[in-house]
Symmetry: C2
Subunit: 764 residues, 2 copies
């Protein structure tokens, strides 16, 4: 058992076991969690003391007296159909209904959770609310609607028969969403609902600062303040059924107030509309192409948040403590990947590690002295209950995180939740013992630096660096049918022997592609900020990328890359990828699929006996006027390309088709001048898929000759090399034993047998 770099969650009245586990797991720091406090006995263990501090919740003594100073949110009501006015119904003709007038009532709180949200009437609805005809898109003039506050209902009159109407209204957030989530998940019955505070309000801001100073003064034993977090919760709205209704880990919907709206207008010279926040019900999800008001508001919020973060950090330092920010909960406005974050003075960032991608989201942050990962599972009864084995999730989480740590290390690790729950699961306790030891060992052997990558990869989308490792994400580490095929690419990259950066379309048009970039990866669902939508009508973007690839670059397109229906193409860079998507606009033009190519560098891991090809190439087959490679081709070679992208086809016979099924292209490469285009329909994360992507990138970069060095013959294993410390390691990314050979340059192949989740170290 080694010691250090490990933070243990403590629990009240659990001191003896805490001491035991602290020793077993080598903890050098102890923290409390939401809803727990540290016993004196635990504080006396001699560990570094972390204490969670909640600047904007848990101060109900103030909040209850200032219920108009909670953060607010614009909410979009359900759509309500305007039916015939019952009094005139009998007189109207069924065949000419248009233009008939009626009256519609919108009980706008109907779908929302009344314990969390309360309509805010003190700011004049006529000025701060908006009623919309969702059939025409028209904003209804205020003379045509009024509010019945008794019934939380808006009445529109006259309304057009058989149009749908919505109200966008301002609501106070009267229950902190994270505390609410914990409360509901844990069936807390004895906790008072935490009311959130809005730092934008001067009195409340003063209170927040005073309260913090008092707390700092009152807690001299605390070494590290784990700020959880600052002021504005990411969007998390519950429904009348007490379940999640709206979630966006990046959403800054919950940052509104009448005074902030007015302040914004003074600063930016225009007024935010309610619709600017709810965006037709999309709530400015990062998947939508951002609008100017949305970006301006984000800037406005960031300005407020950062100024107050800076102030709290200074206070922390003045009290002789470290300031550690939790990346989550009320992290909105901190934006760790936007310039200026380093000026806040934070000592550390800690975040939840859901997988390799979320690990990198923490470990790639610049401008703090150290980073810490809080691993999963969280010690909550939803996982730690009889009949479940939490060690399975612990190992799976560690395997994904470990890949990423080898490329970009975090400085420390830890867990969170109720320690007493974890202590009841000995197999889990053993797993953490092993993982903690392994983490310390690898930190020592790597010198806390990431392995050097062989290629430089840039992920290109609307957000660029600002959303580093945050692309394709709705909620932290959670899969969605619309996201997992793209997120899998990030997850694959997170632990791959490549260097990764995130760049924006604006970067490309303003600065071109940096010389050291080997491969650019772009794409996502059509019409999203990740694919880019309308930006592809910009000839500067299109021709910069074409020129770069033509002169030797490499562009990998995912799913619906460069997609916008324009000038007869759907993928504007179809000429680069060699693939376009038929969206039924050019159905009259025949599509011919060349035969599949076997024995390609990219698919070289497919054992010959798995291809199911009888003899030589797959023969094309006929489908209407169109000739396709046979449907069996794909699944035979064992890759999962995720959600189907229908209608993709090779634009000509020069395309190298590597996988096609059911009339769709999953994987193809295309020589483009001196460079290479690759089309990949999607790639959920798995060991085999990550390997496929690695081969794609080396092929696209025309660095196939460098592929073999330090490569594992077994795709389920990966290697990392640390020239500075003279170590290399081989990891097993599965929960099965694996064997592999690694080609070490200048030496013969090294054979390695690895146990489940195993790691092997060797001096080079």
């Amino acid at each position: 058992m080694s010691y250090g770099l490990f933070t243990l969650p403590a629990e009240e009245n659990f001191a003896a076991k805490t001491r035991e586990l602290a020793q077993l797991w080598g903890a050098d720091a102890i923290r409390n969690s939401d809803g727990t406090h540290l016993d004196e006995e635990v504080k006396a263990l001699g560990k570094k003391i972390y204490s969670a501090y909640f600047p904007a919740r848990g101060h109900n003594e103030w909040a209850r007296l200032h219920m108009d100073e909670t953060p607010m949110v614009y909410l979009l009501s359900q759509r309500v159909l305007a039916e015939d006015d019952p009094t005139t119904n009998g007189n109207q003709s069924d065949t000419s209904p248009n233009g008939a007038k009626t009256r519609v009532e919108i009980p706008f709180m109907k779908t929302f959770f009344e314990e969390q949200l309360q309509p805010y009437y003190d700011a004049d609805p006529a000025r701060y609310w908006e009623v919309t005809d969702r059939t025409t898109g028209e904003t209804i003039p205020t003379e045509r609607w009024h509010v019945d506050r008794e019934r939380d209902t808006v009445i529109v009159e006259p309304a057009e028969c058989f149009h749908e109407y919505t109200v966008t209204f301002l609501a106070s957030i009267i229950w902190d969403p994270v505390e609410m989530y914990n409360h509901i998940t844990n069936n807390w019955s004895d906790h008072e609902h935490a009311v959130p505070l809005d730092v934008y309000q001067p009195d409340t801001r003063d209170f927040i600062m005073h309260a913090y100073q008092e707390w700092l003064d009152a807690n001299p034993e605390v070494d590290v303040v784990r700020l959880t977090t600052f002021f504005y919760q990411f969007t998390l709205i519950f429904s009348a059924q007490r379940r999640e209704k709206i979630v966006d880990w990046f959403g800054c919907a919950c940052t509104v107030s009448p005074s902030a709206l007015d302040g914004f207008e003074r600063e930016y010279g225009y007024r935010m509309r309610p619709e600017d926040f709810v965006s037709e019900g999309g709530y400015n999800s990062t998947f939508r192409q951002p609008t100017r008001p949305q970006l301006d508001w984000l800037g406005f919020v960031m300005h407020t948040v950062r100024a107050n973060v800076k102030r709290m950090v200074s206070m922390t330092h003045e009290a002789g403590k470290e300031a550690m920010m939790f990346l989550g909960d009320q992290w909105i406005g901190t934006e760790p990947y936007v310039d200026g974050f380093e000026d806040l003075g934070l000592d550390a960032v800690v975040g939840s590690v859901g997988d390799g991608t979320t690990l990198r989201m923490i470990s790639d942050i610049k401008g703090v002295r150290y980073t810490e990962g809080r691993f999963l599972p969280y010690f909550f009864p939803d996982t730690f209950h009889e009949g479940n084995d939490p060690s399975i999730e612990a190992w799976s989480n560690w395997r994904k995180a470990r890949r990423a740590i080898l490329r970009s290390p975090i400085s420390r690790m830890g867990y969170g939740g109720y320690l007493s729950l974890a202590a009841k699961f000995p197999k889990f306790v053993d797993a953490v013992t092993e993982i903690a030891d392994e983490f310390r060992d690898l930190t020592a052997k790597t010198g806390g630096e990431g392995a050097q990558g062989s290629l430089n990869i840039a992920v290109l989308n609307t957000w660029g660096r600002m959303r580093s490792w945050m692309a394709y994400t709705v909620a932290h580490a959670k899969p969605y049918p619309q996201t997992y095929s793209y997120y899998g690419v990030l997850e694959s990259l997170s632990g791959m022997r490549v260097n990764v950066r995130f760049i924006s379309f604006d970067d490309v048009t303003s600065r071109g592609i940096d010389d050291e970039i080997d491969v650019v990866v772009t794409g996502g669902a059509a019409g999203t900020s990740f694919s880019g939508g309308e930006v592809w009508k910009d000839p500067a973007l299109v021709s910069t990328l074409r020129r770069w690839v033509r002169n030797g670059g490499a562009l990998v397109g995912l799913g619906e890359p460069s997609a916008v229906n324009w000038q007869g193409r759907f993928f504007q860079l179809a000429d680069v990828f060699g693939v376009d998507r038929e969206i039924s606009q050019t159905l009259s033009v025949d599509k011919y699929f060349p035969a599949l190519t076997r024995g390609h560098f990219i698919t070289a891991d497919v054992p010959a006996n798995e291809t199911n090809a009888e003899d030589g190439d797959i023969e094309p087959e006929d489908f209407g006027g169109t000739v396709y490679a046979t449907p069996r081709a794909m699944s035979d070679i064992g890759y999962d390309f995720g959600e189907p992208i229908t209608g993709t086809y090779p634009i000509d016979g020069n395309v190298t088709l590597l996988s096609a099924a059911e009339g769709r292209v999953q994987l193809a490469t295309n020589r483009y001048g001196s460079g290479v285009g690759v089309y990949l329909s999607g790639l959920p994360y798995s060991g085999r898929n990550a390997r496929l992507l690695e081969r794609i990138l080396f092929y696209a970069a025309r660095r196939e000759d460098e592929y073999e060095a330090y490569s594992s013959t077994n795709p389920q294993c990966e290697t990392a090399v640390f020239p500075k410390t003279g170590w290399m390691c081989v990891i097993n990314n599965t929960n099965q034993p694996q064997s592999t050979d690694v080609k070490v340059p200048g030496q013969g192949p090294v054979h390695v047998d690895l146990g489940t989740s195993g790691i092997f170290w060797r001096k080079i």
Copy 2:
């Protein structure tokens, strides 16, 4: 063996066998086919004589002297990338490429078949051609490009570096596409290429009429002139590889000439642009939402064609013969479902029967005395070769057609091609003997009238009646991955016990929904003329349909019905269908799938042991923030919903979910006021699927109580009832024996055992 209603294709030097087969198949008419002539001996058999006549091809003696009077076509060249000018390349910066100028050459004939198409230079390219920057959409001013006629190349200078350019040029069609197709398919080596004639040119028009008169005079023995067809071929363009490059059975691209373009301008007051014809490479496919110029041009062509058709029909009648139009080949401009067709005076229409839908395309035509179906397989060597059994296709074709004939009969049947080929396949000869007898028998028993339908169904799209039974079609009876899921609905309807009409969005907004319509079916791929695209922003359309359903109507949405990204919905009638599609614009809003409903009227044919449900309802499962019904649910119940439509979800918990898989809804119903909305993701044709649709329609119309009468318990069998003649029949739609019970009202169930493809008749 019975006699009559049957047309036999004859062949030269094959008289004895022709006589034998004529007797066996009960032929009362003999026809020649493309490339064959009738022997005197055959003409003497005493049968009615059909003779194919080709008004616009096969007159090379004239055509060769008037090569500037062939129909022409606007062709869109391949896209050519403007690369760096080699002379300046070294001096340009890689990082600021935009605005750099170069020179680009477009060898515009490169991808086209030179034996079919020839650039037409006599009309000034500067006036009649168009060069387009496909990166910006800009039309390049004529000063910036010129033509090198020697090399069939357009040179653009200056051009923008790394933009793509196209030329839209006028080409003469120098080989009739159908004769070319037959020529290439049959490897004819001794046939002269048939040059097509353009009826718009006065001299050629006079020639066409004179030649026809001469032919009429010279062929007194001909009873029926099978006009094959008139003047303009549907779009059929071959590539340099001698294979199909562009096909559109409805396309009127091959109708152009400088004089027609000028004539159009005089008549319509504006000039057609080359781009109006090639539409970014879509060539005005019926799947594209039609533009005003496209519709005007169609009207212009129809006017020309119909005037000349009328003239030829009169000449035919004056010669004492019948005029029969072939629905195919040069049918463009006749438009049998547009008002005025009945004024042409045609006696008959004959067409190829590919399935039930194409049968109905013929049999539903009004304004002719009789219709004839030319069944498949065509007697060509691609089907009639050793090792193949053409009787399989004959039966399959007959089974699909028979369903449709029972609902809307054709008057006569026949086959086409080389009789000598068919004669070599005795099993096929027997099949036709049986089919011909069955056809005559059913014509007698039904009195040549269709069975009365139980429901009135309207298929709603942009084209409406004009494209009756032609919706979702690129090429006659051919499946495409983008079409089969929708076409299957038409195919199911073609033989179903319902009455079908086709209505347009304009019909709905201008006249509402006719009282007698029970169910409206609409949908298709988003952005197509069938789904409707932008039309759904019209509040008149949306509110008329809402009102109609709300007051008791029924609307079935297919695939992406009412789809346009507008005001937060993708399906504008999501409130009616109960289903919308997530196109990643509202990902932050949670979607919850209710449990699947079992034991529903619509899915009542699913045997209980096929559901794979352990106990009761399917449990929802978690996928990110979204809860879905389990993926296994669909395939378990045995329906094929065709191409996946990703991201469909129930809009609320009131939706009745009947099939959902992998986070998608395939089938759901939704109460909407007094009416019903149904969502169906797609439905390729099969017996089981047709039955599913039948149940959907009866359910949606709330006529479940009428479903059982004359219904077959076995979904692979169907019934048709003919009250006027007092017969009912039961058909077996499979090539396996089937047993079924039919509930005859007032009697008990009738048990019927049917052989493969069998039919059973019973007096009611």
